[in-house]
């Protein structure tokens, strides 16, 4: 984000300040030079657009889900039903390193299913539109043991902020014991 914003924040106000207060007279920069800058600018914008969009494909959760499914690794299936203002979760305990497929549905209004890392960062979130034929679905592999908070991030009425739950992630040996 700052990679884009900082250069803009430096250049735009600088040019405005310079041509407003320091030297507001017409610039003697030739038309040819401006055209060259224009061309470079346009190509840079287009190149950045292409690079960012191609590069981000591999980071899409759908790509990761597809890759995990194609790898043949066993996936633990978990069904979640959201309703105002609670979740029904078929299994709340998972193992580190074992992929989990969350299939989440809402049965009344719009809800969210957002899983937070114990450090407070969001791992992933899903938006749930009631009536959708297919449940919102995602495969995720937990990498650390701990208590993972679940929150609804789609406003769903007067007790929206109270709609939360908890998942437990344990080391592989802990669950079997």
């Amino acid at each position: 984000m700052l990679l884009f914003q900082l250069p803009f924040l430096l250049v735009f106000p600088f040019i405005v300040y310079r041509k407003c207060f320091v030297d507001p007279t017409p610039s003697n920069t030739g038309r040819g030079k401006l055209t060259r800058i224009e061309t470079v600018w346009i190509f840079s914008a287009v190149a950045l657009f292409v690079i960012a969009n191609v590069y981000s494909i591999s980071y899409m959760p759908m790509s990761k889900t597809a890759a995990t499914e194609a790898s043949g690794v066993a996936i633990q299936d978990v069904d979640v039903t959201a309703r105002s203002w609670s979740y029904e979760i078929s299994d709340r305990e998972f193992e580190v390193g074992k992929p989990v497929r969350f299939s989440v549905k809402s049965v009344d209004t719009m809800h969210g299913f957002t899983v937070y890392h114990p450090n407070g960062k969001i791992l992933f979130n899903m938006m749930l539109i009631p009536g959708l034929e297919k449940a919102s679905s995602l495969v995720y592999t937990f990498t650390e043991p701990g208590k993972y908070k679940v929150r609804c991030l789609e406003y769903c009425g007067i007790a929206h902020h109270g709609m939360q739950d908890e998942l437990t992630v344990v080391k592989a040996t802990d669950k079997s014991s």
Partner: protein, 498 residues
């Protein structure tokens, strides 16, 4: 009579009293009325905006918070900003086309917008807490659960339908009428412009977007309203009452509404910037590049709305998610062209340090900073981590704040024509400084909150230790308020040009 109503309005009447000696009442009076009324709604939105962090800090209850957030969003987006934009654009359109911005259609625009907003306000005060995005089917589910009454749902939906009628049909019809039909009146023509001019092209593009993307929502909302009134049975409109249908037609419109307003204000920047060039050439660096930027924004914005639904996958197929990703980033190319056009124009010709132009340029800076935040959020991978957080709420709010600042700057330019009075430069510069600090501070506060996982529309900021973000929001919100009241002060202290 309308001019007299404005004149008699306490406090605001002194600021927006129309100069009737110029013979321009037909392009000045209704716009002045709309602008004046929009500021009343802004004051409401401001008080509620400050109220939200205060409610959280003082632990005044979640009910009050959700009431405040519903009214704040609704007041800020529609009866304030959209009405403010309508007032200025009707005046601009009248002056550029030599056509009156008055008549029954304009009166109807005003009545539907403000009448609808009042009905929605009453419904929210009566218990309906649905946020300005409606969150359908929440209104019906909430009534079934006893959180609010069905009467309030009917009242609220009636208000929303009136507001939407004003925005989607009446206002676009009026701009189309003024742009393409009717006799030109020489005495109203202030600065003749054609549709080749970026300033006019953007305006026509915007109203076409509203008309085309808004019509499906009007059909669905109209069907629902008929069922709510009991005129047709609810079973007869199941095609409209499906949540997924409503959500899609809603976001096709709501997303493009923001894009249309952005195209409209960028075109106003293109129209206003040349008037303040230091060398008096009154020309943009390149009209073609400016028009190309508008066309790119138009084409890419229409289907970029898919980014609202990435996280419903596979409800939204992966291919459409990626399409939304590409289109959302495509709007950045249009923005890059706009940045170049504006900077090249300034570099080539120099500019005069007028508060109105500074407000426009500061608003443009906030708009671009927010645009970057929006593009980041529109990346599919990132969206899975920040959708539903304060980042997204901050984007919606910052784009409104940025457009407000740009329109406030444009009003600086038109104010002397409407009222026959000139504005104080010192107060103008102070307003721009305070407002810009507030806008940029709020933008980064919201983004930081989102990056920390702080949910939007959430009545318990303490739950995740996010209250520090709430404090920052309050502090920068106060800067914004100080900026706005300085702006109003400059109108209050304006002096007759003669």
């Amino acid at each position: 009579m309308l001019a007299a109503t404005i004149r008699r309005t306490p406090l605001l009447g002194k600021m927006f009293e129309v100069d009737e000696s110029t013979g321009l009442s037909d392009i000045n009076t209704w716009p002045a009325m709309m602008i004046m009324t929009s500021f009343v709604w802004l004051v409401v939105a401001i008080l509620l905006g400050v109220g939200m962090p205060v409610i959280q800090m003082a632990e005044m209850g979640s009910d009050l918070f959700y009431t405040a957030i519903t009214l704040h969003g609704a007041a800020l987006a529609f009866p304030f900003l959209f009405q403010f934009m309508m007032g200025i654009s009707l005046h601009r359109s009248g002056g550029c086309m030599g056509k009156p911005a008055s008549g029954k259609l304009t009166a109807l625009i005003y009545i539907c917008m403000n009448g609808g907003a009042v009905l929605l306000t009453l419904a929210v005060l009566g218990g309906l807490k649905i946020t300005y995005t409606v969150m359908y089917p929440l209104p019906l589910v909430g009534a079934q659960m006893g959180a609010w009454s069905m009467n309030m749902v009917v009242l609220g939906f009636t208000g929303i339908a009136l507001v939407l009628t004003s925005m989607i049909f009446l206002y676009p019809f009026q701009i189309i009428r003024m742009s393409f039909f009717g006799e030109q009146r020489e005495e109203l023509l202030l600065s003749a412009r054609s549709l080749k001019d970026p300033g006019m092209l953007g305006m026509v593009m915007s109203i076409m977007i509203l008309l085309v993307t808004g019509t499906p929502l009007m059909i669905v909302a109209g069907a629902l309203l008929l069922a709510l009134y009991g005129i047709v049975p609810l079973e007869a409109v199941t095609w409209a009452s499906e949540p997924v249908v409503f959500q899609y037609v809603f976001y096709i419109f709501a997303h493009n509404l923001m894009e249309a307003m952005a195209i409209m204000v960028i075109s106003a920047v293109y129209a206003t910037l040349p008037l303040y060039l230091a060398d008096g050439t009154r020309k943009l660096y390149s009209d073609k590049l400016a028009n190309l930027a508008l066309w790119i924004l138009l084409v890419t914005s229409v289907t970029s709305f898919f980014h609202h639904f990435y996280t419903t996958n596979p409800g939204l197929p992966t291919a459409l998610s990626y399409h939304g990703n590409i289109m959302s980033w495509g709007t950045g190319i249009g923005a890059a062209f706009s940045i170049f056009t504006i900077l090249a124009t300034i570099w080539k010709h120099g500019i005069k340090p007028e508060p109105g132009l500074m407000a426009i340029l500061a608003g443009f800076v906030v708009y671009i900073l927010d645009g970057v935040n929006a593009m980041v959020a529109a990346n599919v991978a990132v969206s899975y981590q920040i959708h539903g957080t304060l980042w997204v709420g901050g984007h919606a709010m910052s784009v409104l704040i940025a457009m407000t600042l740009m329109w406030m700057g444009v009003l600086y330019h038109h104010y002397p024509v409407i009222t026959g009075k000139k504005l104080d430069k010192v107060l103008g510069n102070r307003f721009v400084t305070l407002y810009t600090i507030g806008a940029v501070g709020l933008l980064y506060s919201f983004a930081a909150g989102g990056a920390m996982g702080m949910p939007r529309r959430f009545a318990d900021w303490d739950a995740g230790g996010w209250m520090s973000v709430g404090v920052a929001i309050l502090v920068f919100g106060l800067f914004l308020i100080a900026g706005f009241f300085t702006y109003m002060q400059s109108f209050f202290k304006s002096r007759a040009i003669s």
